[in-house]
Each structure stands twice: as structure tokens, then as C-alpha cells.
């Protein structure tokens, strides 16, 4: 179930929006794995809309910042049980020098942000042939 808006997400170099003092901050759950010459980072941002997700790389630090929105059904419906709330997702990662910072790509699907961080040329695995 891909999001309708399929345009590529932007990774910018300007400082990410910091959570406000009054905002509830959530640390998104993250999976990170290496797949060949790419490091893939998957972050759970349920309730965040693609256009509001802020991804920045600044001085080797990758920051994910996005509003966590819970669309409450309105005044008439009182909260009987509350297990989730709105706020802001915020998490930062230090990138190693292995990562090619210029070519990070991002996409969003069903509340999961996927970042593809390619390894820089010098960090790629090279197969060495043994000459007989």
C-alpha cells in the first residue's frame, strides 16, 4: 500500500527542526541492516505524513524529525482508553565515514520511513581474484 505521493523525499543539509519544549518527544523504533553495499535504516513513524518528515544530514549526523499525528475523532467522542498520543518523532544517528552522504535516499510506506545509505566507494566490498 504505497503512499499516493510518490515523489522522492528530500534529504537536506539544513538543521532539522528541534522538538519544542512543550512537545511530547518519541524515539522511533529503528531497524538498521547492511545489504550489500547499502546500509538500510527503517524507522517507524506511524501517523507521520511523508511531506512533514524532516531528514537532514549535517556534520555527519543524520536527524529524523517528524510530527506524530493522531487524528482524534472530535469533541463528541471522549477518550475511554488512551494508549497513544501525538507529539514529535526525533532521533539522531552519527554516520560513519563509510557512508556516501550525498546519495542518501528516503521513502515512506505505511508509516515506515526507509533510508538507503550507500557506502562510499572506498568502503565497498571488493572481491579479490586469486591468480593462479
Amino acid at each position: 500500500m504505497a503512499d499516493k505521493d510518490d515523489k522522492a523525499m528530500q534529504v537536506s543539509a539544513t538543521p532539522a527542526r528541534q522538538p519544542a519544549e512543550t512537545e511530547r518527544t518519541f524515539t522511533p523504533l529503528v531497524d538498521a541492516y547492511e545489504h550489500g553495499d547499502t546500509v538500510v535504516l527503517e524507522a517507524e513513524l506511524p501517523g507521520a505524513v511523508e511531506k512533514d518528515v524532516d531528514i537532514t544530514v549535517e556534520k555527519g549526523v543524520l536527524t529524523i524529525s517528524a510530527p506524530a499525528q493522531v487524528a482524534e475523532p472530535g469533541e463528541a467522542n471522549g477518550g475511554t482508553f488512551r494508549g497513544l498520543a501525538g507529539g514529535r518523532y526525533y532521533r539522531r544517528f552519527a554516520l560513519s565515514d563509510e557512508i556516501d552522504r550525498e546519495n542518501i535516499s528516503a521513502s515512506m510506506d505505511s508509516g515506515v520511513l526507509t533510508l538507503k545509505l550507500p557506502k562510499a566507494a572506498q568502503a565497498r566490498t571488493r572481491k579479490i581474484e586469486v591468480k593462479s
Binding site: A32, E34, T80, S110
Partner: protein, 145 residues
Amino acid sequence: MALFRWPSAFDPFASLRYMEREMDRLLGRGGFGRDVFAGGYPPVNVFTGPDDIVVQAELAGVSRDDLDISITGDTLEIKGKKESGADEDKVTYRMRERGSGQFSRTIVLPETVDADRIEARLEAGVLTIRLPKAEAAKPKQITVG
């Protein structure tokens, strides 16, 4: 996002996690354990109004096809499967917090609902189920004669 993650009954670190969560709460951070499936997953909100009950559940990365929502009387059950995005044999994990596997959560609704008119939508990882109340459960105005 989930307000808390309840530690499971067999978790030897339950009290530690509880403390951690309390510390997080005091420091104003989102209290957040690491066990996605400890206790109640998915986290839910239940809202009750004059005409309907709205249930919200956070299911990031769960596809519509892997969801199984059913209702028996006034018991709503959300079942499903959360799959990890990667082909696990071909990748090397560096961080793993999201968790995967089967889940099920049962919610006993506060009122009787009309099972034929229930609507469920999954958007941006948030499931919203709107359950219209049965006629008998709706509030009625009583006039003093």
C-alpha cells in the same frame, strides 16, 4: 506514538523497565521500552461518542492483507502479522528494535455496536476502526410529561 510499553509477565527486568519509564516520564521524554510485543501491541486509543466508538491502533509497517479484524458480541479483536522488511538471510543487522511476528489484541467495547456498519481504514501506519453504536445503546432524550 505509544505512550508506554507495558512489560510482560515473564520479564525479569520488568521493574527495571518500569523504573526507566518513570525516569523518562520525570525527565519529560517519551517513555519507551524496547519490547515491541511486551504487553499490549498494538497500542490503542478508544473513543466513545454518542453515535459511535472509534478505535485507533498503531501498526507501522503492517500491510492491510496481514490484518485480521473481527468482532464477536462486544469484543473486538485485532490480529495480524508484522513482517520485517528485509530478507533476513541476506542482510546483517546492526540495530533491531522494531520486532516482527504475530500479534493479537482484544478490546472489550464499552457498548453494543452494529456489527454490519463497522468501517476500518489503515493510513500511514495508523488503523482507525469506526463502530456505530447499536440503536439500543444510543442515548435517548426523555421528556418530563
